[in-house]
Symmetry: C2
Subunit: 741 residues, 2 copies
């Protein structure tokens, strides 16, 4: 299923964008940040001073050089990972097994993953494969060519609303669509020249038009990808149910199964086979041309006179609006036309030249298949009807019900499945481009352990599945949503190209600007027509979703911006003077005078002023170990005991005295028996006294071995941790005591 | 609803058991533990030595003496808590507001709680109120007396299976039940003498018979309490639906609503009103005696001849088994007889004497009401039928449909509701006694903020609700489960008393031993009869539940035992020699030779040997602050970077060098792009090298302000924390950076 896999996936970056690689989830430091880092580092050198040697002396061997054979490592949730030393000194590599659980459940889940997805692949398995022209044509044009399986029928379905007489208009509408196809095709030929490294609408709009148009294009493309899957699968299922009407009730489960297979195939990632994936496209093209030839030959015997029209009662009058609606429905036959320009680097060199040739060839094929089918449908007066696709009707008429008919239907279904699959390549790649600009969750940059962008792939399958099932798997219900997203993306990428040529003024820029300008204007007109004429038929859903996606992406970007500035280092001026511990009463008095410093902005060890708070319930091993842990750090320690009544408080204080009163203790009476709330508020009150303090709350916690023993313990540590998470400047430390049973 | 509230709740402890108070969730240290604690404390004194002054100097004022007015405390999940200084030096008290949320949701939830449950009560609001005899009789006998509302009918329902002719046997069975009532009543009079502080079956069995009988008694009692609620509510609802047949369909929702009201009332805890709760019992007794008088007067006009029997076709033959089944069903009329002996301290002094008087009075009332009703049903040939209770039939016959009839039904329903309420006092108290012995989760010791044992109360309401709804709210379906639990508890407590008298040989011990022995034998016989004759009718459920409860309680006890030994302190012999940091290669070589020490057994600061591991992704403020935090503690620090590929590793290393390479760094390549698993396994490998090390994993974490921003961050810290929880000797420290938006 994952036809070109990472080959296509890896090669489509534009000039400025580096390769999509496993490392890219982490944003590197830029020059300015590095400069600040150097200054802060200088400060550290002074701050650590003589202590540096001490902190560098490790009680263990971090390189695991003398790694024992009898190692007990790997208990817990994960299977053991073997560490091998790589060539570089001190660098080690975590080999296989990583990520597999070693609990019973983890094992089962892991085995299941292996069966469905295959063994994990190391990052070095990313390959950059190149496609020969025939393979590239087949794989990259499957989306566009397969569109003729539903585009003409969608157009006829709208015209049929005005009665059988209106069907004749289909020829004239087709002429307009062919003009559009050629114009957009020429436009994309220009784009290939400008973006030889591949450029999707989002990238082109981002480079030339700015953020908002880029986001609108991205929104359009995302809708487009989701609908490519939903529409292709529904049309493919329709091809099957036309041949086997008994399956018609099971259309939705069939389609969902197809989406699940596509999902699993794409989660496996990395191409499993090459040329075999070009077979469906050629088989489909062959089937369509055979249909056209046989049909035309048949019609020539009748002197090309249309057969008598089936009687369809007009439901509404033939208005301009209806004609335009039919036009925008028919225009769905050109969806997928942009695939080649997105994937230029996947071709053999000279890639741009080969890509242009393949694009031209694809336009020729698309136009002739589209025109031939529309003509044939007109001559045979094919009327869309539920239960059988127009293509199936044509095939029945030409080939009866024999093996030739079956061949046409199977080829149609396969090419549509292949077309749906192209969306599975494009969608996660789009998300990863967006994530790189901060417009999508950074998670979308993460390659799964089979090197696929797992999160984006799953998101697409879920969205397409929901849409497909929500619309009952009916192609005609999905079509109105389709054209809007496609043409908004076409328009913005062509408009971006106009700006591109205008800025660059390279060779032939005038010709290119005209071609792209025409493409942009025509696409824009189709977008407006589609949005207006189909607004109430579903286009509003697409428009709303685009707006929503733009808003969400914008919000994500602004969140990442604020994170970026929040985690930026401050250039330190000079080492802060070592602050002696001042008696509390002096400190507290003047805290209001100073501005509130933020302990979380400390970035050098000498800036941190510690206070460790140990909430203690009972002086047993668990509690005493937490105290010992805190005291051994050599920083001020305050133990806090929350007591439900004064009797308990007195008892605890006497235990504390018996122990020797080695640390300051504060007992807080909580007559309402709450523990967490008074503790949190007490810690907050301490923090307010001196906000520059780094308060470490070191809490003892009993860790039970079995989950079902949890209700036997009060879980105060868990609740306290959750409540303290929101307190600024509070470091949360859990000092665990693991129970043997 | 919460009739005697904490007054009854507080006063029923036995001699050895101290008061049930708010402080009791924490188990104090015993003498042996205190001795060890003193030794460990001495060790601390030597270990801290000169550092003691340093760790005692706090940079803040822990007593909050100079608490600023403009305090910003209380942000986060909790409303601000005011701290006031109590008389004692340095002790502060958290006043109101504790526990209320200050988020929108928290506020709403809190307000709702206040409306339903009332304002929280301080522990000092626990009062020890005493009941006068008339009030005590009414409140404590409601359970027993109300049983006559369903007991006789349950007996007749079984006999009716053998046809109308068998109903006459009810008189003879009643004689046996009356004998039983008197014997058990006399038995409990002895118990009051022996346990003047109140003693439930669990306590008596625990003191005299050992753990297993105590747990069996506890299991029986728990079933008993749950069924008291379920049966009383179903019988109460039946009293209502008998009067208003239109409500019959809504019996289940009605009953669940009643249980919900009882739950809310009991969560409020602490008595809200006193004498008013004795009204239903007297009203019911009055109603029954009025019925009996009118009925007997009526019958006397007929010369005490039974009316003509209704024609009931026998479904099965009149076997001994059926008679015994009828007997055990009728014996449910004496459930609740033990309530007074459980609550002796709730009486005015001399409490035992008053309690015995009240018990005698109750037995007299119970016997006469029971005998009167059975006789009346016999004379009027009342036949149980669905849709109307036997009591309602009697009332209809004597009082027609006027206000007197309504009075009987309302009084019946109210007394049954009151009886259900007694279980709400007993069940959580039983759980708290069990929790004190480690037989129930320690949570059951916790008083809610209204001083009720909230957890036990909720558990009872849920269990009773499930049982009630599961059996469709039909009293006759619940009866077979009832007798088993009651009589196993009766048997064990009386048997325990026999052992008690035998051991003590106090005054009158021979008489007491005979009375309790007879009680034990008779109760035991009834238990066997109930278990055998009703086994297939539902008693097996009760027996299975008792066995299950015994097993669970046993398991809980053994868990707490193992926890207790796990958290016990080790007496330290002498201060461990200060261990200089040994170069890694020396350390690692000999680790296999030593026994594996356990870092979690360190209980003095000088025993801890630290290594802080800082997982670092990027040298930004968040990462650098974690490093600064770790370095400022003056212990060895190792930074670990997990890198998905070697390019990223190189880039990170160059950033690290730019910063100044102030700390040891280990870069682990993870070609499969997993982060958490290799890190956990690496830390485990370090720990295996020297298991006596306390490894602190200090992880930087970005804390987002809004939950919906979470998917935008990878949550590695969260997943790492979860995975590291199970690693022994690993202290988990979260160094947070709170994002401003």
């Amino acid at each position: 299923m994952a036809l070109v896999g990472s080959a296509q996936l890896e090669g489509t970056s534009t000039e400025e964008i580096t390769d999509v690689g496993p490392g890219s989830t982490v944003v590197g430091l830029d020059e300015k940040e590095l400069a600040v880092l150097r200054r802060v580092g200088g400060h550290w050198g002074q701050a650590l001073g003589p202590r540096r040697a001490w902190t560098r002396a490790l009680p263990i061997d971090p390189g695991l050089h003398r790694f024992p054979d009898s190692l007990e490592a790997g208990r817990g949730r994960f299977a053991p990972v073997d560490f091998v030393e790589t060539g570089d000194a001190g660098e080690i590599e975590a080999t296989s097994h990583a990520g597999a659980g070693n609990s019973w459940l983890g094992h089962a889940a892991s085995s299941w993953r292996r069966v469905v997805l295959g063994a994990p692949l190391a990052g070095s398995a990313v390959v950059h494969e190149r496609m020969r022209k025939p393979v590239g044509l087949a794989i990259l044009s499957s989306d566009a060519l397969s569109s003729v399986a539903y585009g003409p029928e969608a157009m006829l379905a709208v015209l049929a609303l005005a009665g059988a007489g209106a069907l004749g208009l289909s020829l004239w509408i087709s002429v307009a669509i062919v003009v559009l196809m050629i114009a957009v095709g020429l436009s994309y030929r220009q784009l290939i020249r400008a973006y030889p490294h591949g450029g999707g609408s989002y990238v082109v709009a981002d480079k030339n038009l700015g953020e908002l148009p880029a986001l609108v294009a991205a929104g359009g493309l995302m809708i487009d990808y989701v609908l490519t899957v939903a529409v292709s699968v529904s049309a493919g299922v329709a091809a099957i149910t036309s041949a086997i009407p008994g399956l018609a009730q099971d259309a939705v489960p069939l389609g969902l199964a197809a989406i699940a297979i596509l999902l699993a195939g794409n989660l496996r990632g990395v191409r499993q086979a090459g040329a075999i994936f070009s077979a469906p496209t050629y088989a489909f093209a062959l089937a369509v041309f055979a249909l056209i030839v046989v049909g035309l030959a048949d019609a020539s015997t009748r002197g090309f006179a249309p057969t008598e029209p089936a009687a369809i009662a007009p439901i509404q009058g033939l208005t301009l609006l209806l004609v335009l609606r039919a036009f925008s429905s028919g225009a769905t036959a050109m969806t997928g036309i942009e695939a080649i320009s997105n994937a230029v680097p996947a071709f053999e060199p000279p890639a741009p030249r080969n890509a242009r040739k393949v694009l031209t060839l694809m336009i020729v094929l698309l136009v002739s298949m589209f025109v031939g089918l529309v003509l044939l449908m007109h001559l045979n007066y094919i009327v869309p009807r539920s239960g059988e696709t127009a293509l199936s009707q044509l095939a029945h008429r030409s080939f009866g019900t024999g093996p030739l008919y079956a061949y046409v239907q199977v080829a149609t279904a396969l090419v549509l499945l292949l077309a749906a699959n192209t969306a599975f390549n494009g969608f996660p790649r789009l998300l990863s481009f967006m994530a790189r600009n901060g417009h999508a969750p950074r998670l979308c940059l993460r390659l799964g352990d089979r090197l696929a962008f797992s999160n984006g792939t799953i998101a697409l399958a879920v969205a397409a599945g929901v849409l497909f099932a929500g619309f009952g798997g009916r192609t005609e219900a999905l079509i109105p949503l389709y054209a809007v997203g496609v043409f908004v993306a076409f328009t913005l990428s062509q408009a971006g190209m106009v700006v591109h040529w205008w800025r660059r003024r390279e060779r032939h820029w005038r010709k290119s600007i005209v071609l792209n300008g025409v493409g942009a204007v025509l696409s824009g007109i189709v977008f407006v027509i589609a949005a207006v004429t189909k607004f109430s038929h579903g286009a509003w859903v697409a428009l709303l979703l685009i707006a929503l996606l733009v808003l969400v992406a914008w919000h994500i970007r602004s969140h990442y911006e604020s994170v970026r500035s929040a985690v930026a280092l401050y250039p330190l001026e000079a080492p802060a003077s070592h602050d002696p511990i001042v008696p509390a009463h002096l400190r507290v008095a003047d805290f209001a005078a100073q501005p509130m410093p933020n302990a979380e902005h400390d970035e050098s060890p000498d800036q941190l002023q510690h206070l460790t708070v140990v909430p203690i319930v009972r002086l047993d091993l668990s509690g005493l170990r937490a105290l010992a842990y805190a005291a051994s750090l050599g920083q001020p320690v305050l133990a806090v005991h929350i007591s439900p009544d004064s009797g308990e408080a007195a008892r605890f204080k006497s235990d504390w005295a018996a122990w020797g009163d080695h640390l300051p203790l504060e007992v807080v009476d909580s007559p309402y028996r709450a523990v967490v709330a008074p503790l949190v508020c007490y810690i907050d009150a301490l923090r307010t006294q001196r906000s520059e303090l780094t308060l470490t709350v070191a809490m003892p916690e009993l860790i039970v071995k079995h989950r079902w023993h949890r209700p036997l313990h009060n879980g105060t540590a868990r609740r306290l941790r959750r409540a303290l998470r929101r307190q600024p400047g509070v470091v949360i430390t859990t000092v665990p005591l693991h129970l043997p049973t």
